[in-house]
Symmetry: C2
Subunit: 338 residues, 2 copies
Amino acid sequence: MRVMSATSPTTPAITQQPDWRTIEATHARIVPHIHRTPVLTSASFDALTGARVFFKCENFQKTGSFKIRGACNAIFSLSDEEITRGIVTPSSGNHGAAVACAAGWRGVPAWIVMPRNAPKSKCRAVESYGGRITFCEPRVSARAEACARLQKETGATLIHPYDDDHIIAGQATAAKELLEQVPDIDAVFAPVSGGGLLSGTCLGARGRSPSVRIFGCEPERADDASRSLATGTLQALESSDTIADGLRASLAARTFAILQRYVDGILLVSEEEIISTTRLVWERMKIVIEPSSAVALAPLLRPGAVSTLKLPMRSDGAAPKLGVIFSGGNVDLSSLPF
Amino acid sequence: MRVMSATSPTTPAITQQPDWRTIEATHARIVPHIHRTPVLTSASFDALTGARVFFKCENFQKTGSFKIRGACNAIFSLSDEEITRGIVTPSSGNHGAAVACAAGWRGVPAWIVMPRNAPKSKCRAVESYGGRITFCEPRVSARAEACARLQKETGATLIHPYDDDHIIAGQATAAKELLEQVPDIDAVFAPVSGGGLLSGTCLGARGRSPSVRIFGCEPERADDASRSLATGTLQALESSDTIADGLRASLAARTFAILQRYVDGILLVSEEEIISTTRLVWERMKIVIEPSSAVALAPLLRPGAVSTLKLPMRSDGAAPKLGVIFSGGNVDLSSLPF
């Protein structure tokens, strides 16, 4: 269940990562545009986990996911000249909606390259923010080709969904807020796909609380982060059909380097666990989360899971405080898995 | 759409209703046991209504609905001697779960009489709190007979779900809290079934803010409150199949008298409006509400609806502030209407 981070000779050199001052400046830049999302607790989930769980509810964030944090930072960091011909970006949905929204705030067009298997509701969301969708095959290589072509045709600026320091610094503000809202959290759990949110979570949480543990949570059907950290070599994931439709991408060298340095483990979850956890959150907490969000809670619901994490004893002797980042709440209500 | 309250010679004498001091004492009695639920806002719904809407989220309340307020007050108002043989109550679901929960806090059994067409998830909830269910036909008379029989057999104390001053005073605390959280609200909208929540809303809201307008919202398929206020005579509703499964009961003389005195109008909504509003709230606000909750918002979503309410101009000239009570969030995810 737990894969320790490993450093090997094949590890890429650690790039210059966003430092704490950059993250603070990022937060100041985007705070006029985004919500400071609430942190919810649930007696049900405290009982089920034996811990005290604090849910950072990015499902309540503008555009319905944390992605607006990074997109807003990237787009508001561009000069008027750099942005004048618009933005192009690949996305499985939420990043696309966020880029379309933030591009709209800057008054420029956004071209979003989406895989054909993206949920229809996420396509509609992109369009509702004025984004222009180009569909491609659900493969990493096909997306990159479509983006390159669009960039050439339109002269738009490419924003990568996670292989980008501005995006990572933006996503870091979710964990930064969580640690401001609940300062003495022992460990934070975030889903991992391309690693933008998880690497940002490392920087945002550790920046405020250096001893906090960070765990990435990943679908078994899209387990490249787990394999990459286990082998010390960036592993490819050409495609995935996990129901956690926001987690079908794979790490980039930039995010991998940050995870290698800071992540305490990657926890894998099955499709069945993702579905049952999604449903349980809807039923018990009365909030709508998407399956990708449930991935960050699912591993904690296994009997005895929290004790296997071997977290340090708290000085107050009480049950550990765990932060779980609910990444988004965009689901297609017409095609629920339950 | 709007039915003014009317006083006619057939109006029953206004009974002694819970006064403000009683409601304050009630709040103090139940506050150790219940949640002070949050008030949420939504830019989407502000845009759709042209108003500023404040949602009192009783879907986040313990047991998933406001019903725990009244049940807790009624049960904690009984002496040890009065309660020793347990509680019996009729319920379409949420009140039953609340009574079972509060009876559990007092350590006594609860017998819940439920109609055969109650959602399975609500039956499971009653059982999860230790309630013992007796099913009956979905008619008011059948419920009363089953309760009388159980009362005789067990010696338990009957708690009526709404024809009870302790219940009404308990439900009043939701609106009292809402007006504490947002003091300058112009009008409050609550669903109406037996009238416990709506009459409590009148007392709790008017007690804090005497000029606030109160509107009841009711399914067309269970329109007894609308007919009762229009005719000035308590109208019967033997049964209803509205999808708003919490709103299939009919007014009692006690709640009718309070509504006649304080309610500014009853707004009727169709089944289609209930379903589409439920879905829209899930999609836009990312919260799970049950169809009965959507009834209180649905009438505000019609084009121009807010202006037809003829609310007094605000002294600040801004859009009206409307409070909407989301009564609960208990839905059966296996049988959604969309």
